[in-house]
Symmetry: C2
Subunit: 218 residues, 2 copies
């Protein structure tokens, strides 16, 4: 058995008993692009991400998508928690954005740990609180902020070394807009000298202006 528990900082607050109970679980590996959950599916267990990244999307009637939240290493997927605590079925679609290692805690063990381990409880609660915060901020951005601001914020946040690799469709899903709109806004950014467009990638040429727009209110 690998020592995934000691390698996960988020679990360092756990009591020895809880760590022992978890240690019997074997992490599983899912490749980039795999669909972990679909809307309406029953939830198998509590998902804890060790490495990689899981993205949870809402999907509209016409196929438009909106990133609800992403699960990074050390975080757990709130939707699975919901499914275990209530009767609620999964309402988002979870996709691995990269090769991802994760642990699925079965329902029975999850409930037992929730009752017996204060550390585990704190962890689950903190994750819950963080997600709720994030959802509220998301509502705020989606409802009250312009596509320009959201796009600029996304580019600023995701750029690695002055550029980022993503299709316009992917960008649109992440910021909750439509591909055509992203295309036009990027063109406008390019005219202003802020970015250069390429197939499947965007190069940032004026990060400062983008950052300024990202922080604007409208």
């Amino acid at each position: 058995m690998s020592d995934w528990i000691s390698d996960t900082p988020a679990l360092s607050g756990l009591e020895p008993a809880a760590r022992a109970a978890l240690s019997v679980l074997a992490p599983l590996t899912v490749p980039r692009g795999a669909v972990l959950f679909r809307p309406g599916e029953a939830v198998a267990g509590f998902a804890l991400v060790l490495s990689g990244r899981i993205e949870v999307f809402l999907t509209g009637a016409n196929g438009r998508e909106l990133l609800l939240y992403a699960v990074e290493p050390g975080q757990s997927c709130v939707q699975t928690t919901l499914g275990l605590l209530g009767a609620a079925a999964y309402s988002g679609e979870a996709v691995s954005a990269r090769d991802t290692r994760l642990v699925m805690v079965p329902r029975a063990l999850f409930l037992q740990l929730m009752d017996s381990s204060p550390g585990f409880r704190r962890m689950v609660f903190a994750a819950f609180a963080e997600r709720m915060e994030g959802m509220i901020r998301l509502m705020e951005r989606v409802s009250f902020q312009s596509v320009d601001c959201r796009l600029a914020a996304f580019l600023t946040a995701q750029a690695q070394g002055g550029s980022l690799a993503a299709t316009q469709q992917e960008i649109a899903s992440q910021i909750g807009s439509a591909r055509e709109v992203v295309s036009r806004r990027l063109e406008s950014f390019e005219r202003r000298g802020w970015v250069r467009r390429g197939r499947g990638r965007v190069e940032i040429t004026d990060a400062a202006s983008l950052a300024r727009l990202a922080l604007a209110e409208a």
Copy 2:
């Protein structure tokens, strides 16, 4: 001391010790229209509503509002929970929609009950899960559903005896739209013979058609 604990069905699952700890708290009464929390305020305690109704709004830059959720009797306000568990400040505005009786559980007692009372924990968790579910459904409606559908759903849900008392501004806030849009959509509904418009009220004249539109996907 009133016996508010026995009068609150949501608390019936609590252990005697937890009930005793809560019983020292005195409910307070707030009149309709009072603002309980504003964005950015620190959270004083865990809010539990006994009667009445608290509505929590997000407010955009230009004053447009969006109902995040409502706290009905027996429910708790998740935003206060967030504030107590993390460092997050309040990000919504809470207003009492009617005269409301509620109990504020101080931070220390809240944390103590969370550690010592499985029943209290379950209650808080269930509230959390329910809110998260609701937020996701709200995102779905706001992002992917037309104003017509949301308006029809609201009218259907809120009508009492074939009519409801609300200004167009209030309706707009509840469904996350603008007053002018509500005005125009209501006019369109009236032309179809579904409603009659009055100052500060809407009368439903064809509930079936409204309900049908409310269930439509787009």
